[in-house]
């Protein structure tokens, strides 16, 4: 079975602004540094799904192809906010097989080791490429 790749992204204001423009979520906590500095996080935080982007990229690299194949299920628990400038790393535990599906436990951690999200990926065994 092909190993699950590690993907690393640093979240800059450019990515946050691009996500705001694409999603239409222009909450000032994401796009206005002065407003965000006075808010509960003391600075800009990224939209929640930005932290998930490293997972989607890793899944695409693992399975190949440009989309998400049928039968894939991804369950995500968000644990901590992503702050401007954070470097996020996506990595997975070795896969297990359950009821014919390949199951991966995935974590996205920041540069300080804080776990930003946990995810469980379930993929039909037949679509996972061989090593």
């Amino acid at each position: 079975m092909r190993p699950f790749p590690e993907v690393v992204h640093t979240v800059g204001q450019g990515a946050i602004d691009a996500y705001a423009a694409l999603s239409g979520d222009c909450n000032p906590l994401h796009v206005d540094p002065d407003y965000a500095a006075a808010g509960p996080f003391g600075g800009v935080i990224a939209h929640g799904p930005i932290a998930l982007q490293v997972v989607w990229e890793a899944v695409a690299g693992w399975l190949g192809g440009s989309g998400v194949p049928p039968g894939v299920c991804l369950d995500v628990a968000y644990r901590a906010p992503t702050r401007l400038g954070d470097t996020l790393t996506c990595r997975a535990e070795p896969p297990t097989v359950h009821a014919g599906d390949v199951v991966l436990s995935i974590a996205v951690v920041g540069q300080d080791g804080v776990e930003v999200l946990q995810a469980l990926l379930v993929v039909p065994r037949g679509i996972v490429p061989p090593d």
Partner: protein, 136 residues
């Protein structure tokens, strides 16, 4: 569809929603976003199918339209994506929204939304549920 005319922030509070509420459906075009979500956000890379990053983004757009803006203060707690069919990168999708559940939790009122993403031929391509917490 354009978000022009839809407020950025909603005057609605999550507490004003009720389990069982149905919102939409809403049509979204994937072509403007698909190729900017394959890797680093905003960096264009072409592909035949919509990447996974399109799914939470499209439902965020739909939530803004459904609630006339995004209610301020909400925290994304959990999401689950189940893919039934691949989405072409340039697909037009119809997204139906349902408020599936609400409950008080340690981090505030948690509201669960279910998004059913249909292709033009009306097949359900993706079902997503999202839990948002609204601290009081």
């Amino acid at each position: 569809m354009s978000l022009e005319g839809v407020p950025v922030l909603s005057e609605l509070r999550y507490a004003e929603l009720s389990a069982g509420d149905r919102l939409g459906s809403f049509v979204e075009e994937l072509a403007p976003v698909s190729d900017q979500l394959r890797g680093a956000i905003g960096v264009v890379a072409e592909g035949e199918h919509a990447p996974g990053g399109v799914l939470p983004l499209v439902t965020l757009r739909v939530l803004r339209r459904a609630l006339r803006g995004i209610p301020p203060g909400g925290v994304l707690v959990r999401q689950r994506f189940t893919v039934h069919a691949p989405l072409p990168a340039g697909a037009s999708v119809r997204v139906a929204v349902r408020v599936s559940a609400q409950r008080e939790a340690h981090n505030g009122l948690q509201t669960t939304f279910t998004f059913a993403v249909h292709q033009a031929d009306d097949l359900a391509a993706v079902v997503e549920w999202t839990i948002l917490a609204a601290p009081e």
